[in-house]
């Protein structure tokens, strides 16, 4: 999909388990009661989202769009265990509240005190891309700023299930984290990048089919593979690991390097377990439309 109107990524932030420990969370999430109720996943997601909004001051975005492939596994597990242990009586409300998919989006809205379009996508390996599609459509419909991001976590139980499913047989490194982006209808500062287009494919693809997918996508912009720099998501996943919304982390790294590229365009390629694939085309924002 080629974006119908100019869409810019103006700010990006990622938080993983290691950076979460180093963060001064109280300065990012300024409601102590909300903060102490947040589990690790929610802290990662809300912190990344709030870091993107820091420059907006008291104002908030016109829309909040989040994505997750599996949601709050830790709190879902706690809540389900309580249902059986306590025979469906006297259940603790907090794990339930934190276990729902849209908890990060709603917490960001509560912290900012805003009532805006708030949507969450849970589409396995294409969850983040679905959120990004929606963000582009929201900008096309006239919104000025959209906060879009994704988050997923590792839990011991989920690790065992993935192990039994044989997901680590081919050396896959398990990952987790949150990545958020402030998207706007105009660039903000010299770090902005233009989000020119994105496309997705489902199902396994061999190397030739991946090249065909990229060539088809680029032809929509009058480009071919020789005109663009390519950012391979697998490179990032060697450090951050694989998870359903790792493409948000990949896009963050690509966004950080777009202005250092030799080409005007940067093609970000992501593939999740060769089951879902996405291409995102970034353009240097100061290079014209």
């Amino acid at each position: 999909m080629k974006t119908a109107v100019p869409v810019y990524i103006n700010m990006a932030a990622s938080v993983d388990a290691a950076s979460l420990k180093e963060l001064n969370l109280a300065s990012v999430i300024r409601n102590p009661n909300a903060l102490r109720r947040m589990c690790r996943l929610v802290r990662m997601g809300v912190a990344a989202g709030m870091m993107c909004l820091e420059d907006m001051g008291e104002d908030g975005p016109d829309a909040i769009i989040t994505a997750t492939s599996l949601g709050g596994l830790e709190d879902t597990g706690k809540f389900l265990a309580e249902i059986t242990e306590r025979n469906e009586c006297g259940l603790n409300p907090t794990p339930f509240m934190r276990s729902v998919f849209n908890t990060v989006g709603s917490q960001i809205a509560l912290l900012k005190g805003i009532k805006v379009y708030n949507m969450t996508y849970v589409h396995r390996g294409l969850s983040f891309e679905s959120a990004l599609f929606d963000a582009v459509l929201q900008i096309a419909e006239g919104k000025r700023t959209v906060l879009a991001g994704a988050f997923d976590e590792i839990t011991p139980e989920a690790h065992i299930l993935k192990q039994r499913a044989g997901l680590f047989r081919h050396g896959e490194k398990e990952g987790e984290g949150a990545g958020f982006f402030l998207i706007g209808n105009r660039p903000a500062g010299n770090r902005s990048a233009c989000l020119s287009g994105l496309d997705v494919r489902r199902g396994p693809l061999d190397e030739n089919q991946k090249k065909e997918f990229a060539a088809d996508f680029l032809s929509g912009f009058g480009l071919d593979l020789s005109c663009v720099s390519v950012f391979n998501g697998d490179r990032v996943k060697k450090t951050c690991g694989e998870y359903g919304t790792a493409s948000a982390r990949v896009l963050h790294e690509a966004f950080a390097s777009v202005h250092a590229c030799s080409s005007e365009y940067l093609l970000v390629c992501n593939s999740f377990r060769n089951m879902s694939h996405s291409l995102i085309l970034l353009k240097k924002a100061d290079a014209g439309l």
Binding site: P32, N33, R36, R37, G90, N92, P93, T94, M97
Partner: protein, 110 residues
């Protein structure tokens, strides 16, 4: 008769031991409540020593708890002491401080 009493002795010993445990537990009720509150409400960086027995638990002048925390305290009473707060209107007085919660537990423990 002696045979009968000897037969009951392990049971009466166990009952006495349980009564003693309950007595010690109720004597340390305030401290136990503080620990249970800190754990259930995930009060990071707060120790039982930081919570005064008469400090208001709710509102800005005290510990700063809110309505979701009140639900958690209701669960603490149900799960740990078998006490149900039947009249929600009484909640404000019962949950005012650690001392008021402890008094309520003592009055309602059978």
């Amino acid at each position: 008769m002696t045979l009968y009493l000897n037969f009951l002795k392990p049971i009466t010993d166990k009952m006495e031991s349980q009564t003693e445990n309950n007595r010690v537990y109720m004597e340390n009720l305030n401290e136990n409540l503080k620990k249970q509150l800190i754990e259930a409400l995930n009060l990071e960086d707060i120790t039982p020593a930081d919570i005064d027995d008469n400090m208001p638990l709710f509102g800005e002048t005290g510990l700063g708890l809110d309505s979701i925390d009140a639900l958690e305290i209701i669960l603490i009473l149900e799960r740990n002491y078998g006490i149900k707060v039947e009249k929600p209107k009484e909640g404000k007085e019962i949950f005012y401080s650690i001392s008021t919660i402890a008094d309520y537990i003592r009055k309602n423990t059978k």
